[in-house]
């Protein structure tokens, strides 16, 4: 054991590093690991230097203990009490602009070291950092017992396992950590956090990680009580396999039993999520109007057929006043509940802006600016918005990144409305888009759809395509508008030949009858 006392000053940091690096080198750690151990200690040391003795001088003591299988570094000071483990971990997935500057160093310290312990004793902060030297355990256990272990009694070769003690609340390992050893619990209990399961004395944990080809912990283990364990590294486990087939079978059975238990728990959890998704889907569908006005001036029908996974398509129609009908169709980027929520917001905003009597381009410009302000998740939505004067059949419309609709004139030909693609809603503030006009003569029809229609796939990965859509429309245009849409839906279904529907299929059609 080596111990040195330094005045807690930044200028002594080099000397402190030298002491720690020498100890790490004695432990035969690789150069990269020596750097990482220094990194872990640096955070602790700088904390003491900067914050332990506000306004006065003080000392800090570093002790280095090289054991056969681990390096233990103690960093002690008599400054103000501070437990670095009490800080929450930073969100390492947060973008840099949102990072709090602090916390990162302590997070990395915990990540690098195998154990980090803190206690306050005799008015001193005592931080202990431990790094195991896995290869060295193997060497130390080189002279393993050759004769098979006695059956029954305690089958675990505790003599050859390393005894370790933990306090209640200590984290033994975290999900995602490298799985390099398993633990026999002699006293106390461990809680596996993610699967909320208690493992009690006489049992083993960590064996799945040892067998797993991914070498990763699948769950985090925290001491539910003070703990006495015996640990065995992966290499030793494999050695014992050769020497004690009974132990080997036991371990494999235990591992498979736990695997099945986990699978059951996960299946149950997945079923719960799926049922919640179904409910979300129903709520989403119930937001779309399904009662279609019966008017002499026009005929309207729409449908949205959601994909298996909840999506973000929508349509809407409503009267702005007694002369004007507004109808819109939209497609939110992405899938799942976030898309559905985004869709709900967009649909609500469009209606409330439209009800103010604004032109279509102004409605959408306002909606875009409102969404942009708080769009942290960077979702976006494409929208085609139309306002129809029911007396004249005049349509005024604008396009924010959506597929152009088709219009059928009296000659019976369907053509895509020629309009610029426009920019999607929700990404850039102050985007402008020109409003266009078109007059529907009595009998003319406009058909709006989302890309779920044209991009519906068959098992050969071919798309339904705009050409097929045009053909189907021409074929079924003379029916009642509801039947036209239903027939197109059937055409798509027949085309897909059972291939899973990957996107929402949404269509809205309006036929003008005359004012």
């Amino acid at each position: 054991m080596e111990s040195l006392i330094f005045p807690a000053k930044l200028e002594n940091l080099e000397k402190m590093f030298a002491l720690i690096r020498e100890a790490a080198a004695r432990q035969a750690f690789a150069a990269e690991m020596i750097d990482k151990i220094q990194l872990a200690c640096e955070e602790a040391l700088v904390n003491v230097i900067n914050y332990a003795y506000p306004g006065k001088d003080g000392d800090l003591e570093i002790t280095c203990f090289n054991s056969e299988s681990f390096l233990e570094i103690g960093i002690n000071d008599s400054g103000i009490p501070f437990d670095p483990l009490s800080l929450p971990d930073p969100d390492i997935h947060a973008p840099m602009e949102e990072r709090r500057i602090g916390g990162l160093g302590i997070f990395m310290m915990k990540k690098i070291m195998d154990e980090v312990r803190y206690k306050r004793e005799n008015d001193r902060n005592m931080l202990t950092l431990v790094k195991y030297n896995v290869c060295r355990i193997g060497e130390a256990n080189g002279a393993l017992k050759k004769e098979p272990l006695p059956a029954g009694a305690c089958r675990w070769p505790l003599d050859f396992m390393k005894k370790e003690e933990f306090k209640k609340g200590d984290v033994i390992f975290k999900a995602g950590d490298t799985a390099d050893r398993m633990f026999y619990i002699a006293k106390g209990a461990i809680r596996l956090v993610e699967i909320n399961k208690i493992i009690t004395a006489g049992n083993v944990i960590g064996e799945m990680g040892v067998f797993s080809p991914f070498k990763e912990r699948t769950a985090s283990a925290v001491c539910a009580e003070d703990l006495e364990t015996y640990t065995m590294g992966k290499d030793e486990v494999i050695k014992f396999f050769g020497q004690d087939p009974v132990l080997a079978i036991d371990l494999i059975q235990l591992s498979i039993k736990r695997f099945i238990e986990n699978l059951k728990a996960e299946t149950a959890a997945r079923e719960r999520i799926e049922s919640e998704l179904r409910i979300a889907q129903e709520i989403q569908a119930s937001m779309l109007p399904t009662v279609f006005p019966q008017r002499k001036e026009f005929e309207i029908f729409a449908m949205m057929d959601p994909a298996k996974e909840i999506g973000g398509d929508f349509y809407d129609f409503f009267f702005i006043d007694d002369k004007r009908l507004c109808f819109v169709i939209g497609d939110v980027s992405g899938k799942g509940v976030p898309a559905a929520l985004f869709m709900a917001i967009t649909k609500t905003l469009i209606k409330s802006e439209a009800k103010r009597g604004l032109p279509s381009d102004q409605i959408m410009a306002n909606v875009n600016n409102i969404i942009c302000q708080d769009n942290q998740t960077c979702q976006f939505v494409t929208v085609f918005c139309v306002i129809m004067d029911i007396a004249s059949g005049k349509l005024k419309f604008c396009n924010f990144g959506h597929n152009p609709p088709l219009v059928c004139d009296s000659s019976g030909c369907f053509n895509f409305i020629s309009i610029a693609g426009g920019f999607v809603v929700g990404v850039m503030e102050n985007v402008k888009c020109e409003e266009k006009e078109l007059i529907l003569a009595p009998g003319d029809m406009i058909f709006l759809y989302t890309d779920g229609v044209t991009e519906a796939m068959n098992p050969e990965q071919e798309q339904f395509s705009e050409a097929r859509l045009k053909n189907s429309l021409t074929e079924f245009k003379d029916k009642e508008i509801k039947d036209t849409i239903n027939r197109i839906r059937q055409e798509i279904q027949a085309f897909a030949r059972g291939a899973q529907q990957s996107d929402d299929i949404t269509m809205l059609a309006v036929r003008y009858r005359g004012g």
Partner: protein, 106 residues
């Protein structure tokens, strides 16, 4: 062990060359050097790390600080970093917010 660095700026592009060991003993100077660009329009922040041997959390903080205080809209590049440095960057999750490249040409 000393860290050396060279900072230059032109065309809204700040280039930082890092050498040696960047830890709590020597990051302050670099931070002061970079602070000078606060308030200027910076499009790119490029850290050249070919000769950087070691970076600690104090070094990472300088990168986060630079992004927050100087280049909120800037794209961050890390060029030619050694595996040990990349491993620390990845541990902190910062790799998701910078472009990591073998070399840089304008």
């Amino acid at each position: 062990m000393e860290s050396k660095y060279a900072v230059s700026c032109n065309n809204e592009m700040v280039k930082v060359e890092l050498c040696g060991r960047l830890d709590a003993t020597n990051t302050e100077g670099l931070q002061i050097e970079l602070k000078k660009f606060a308030g200027q329009k910076i499009a790119k922040l490029i850290f050249f790390a070919k000769d950087l041997e070691y970076i600690s959390s104090a070094g990472l903080r300088v990168i986060i600080f630079t992004k927050q205080k100087i280049g909120v809209d800037a794209e961050i590049f890390l060029i030619a970093a050694q595996p040990a440095i990349l491993s620390v960057i990845k541990m902190s999750g910062l790799d998701n917010f910078m472009t990591i490249q073998e070399s840089y040409s304008e």
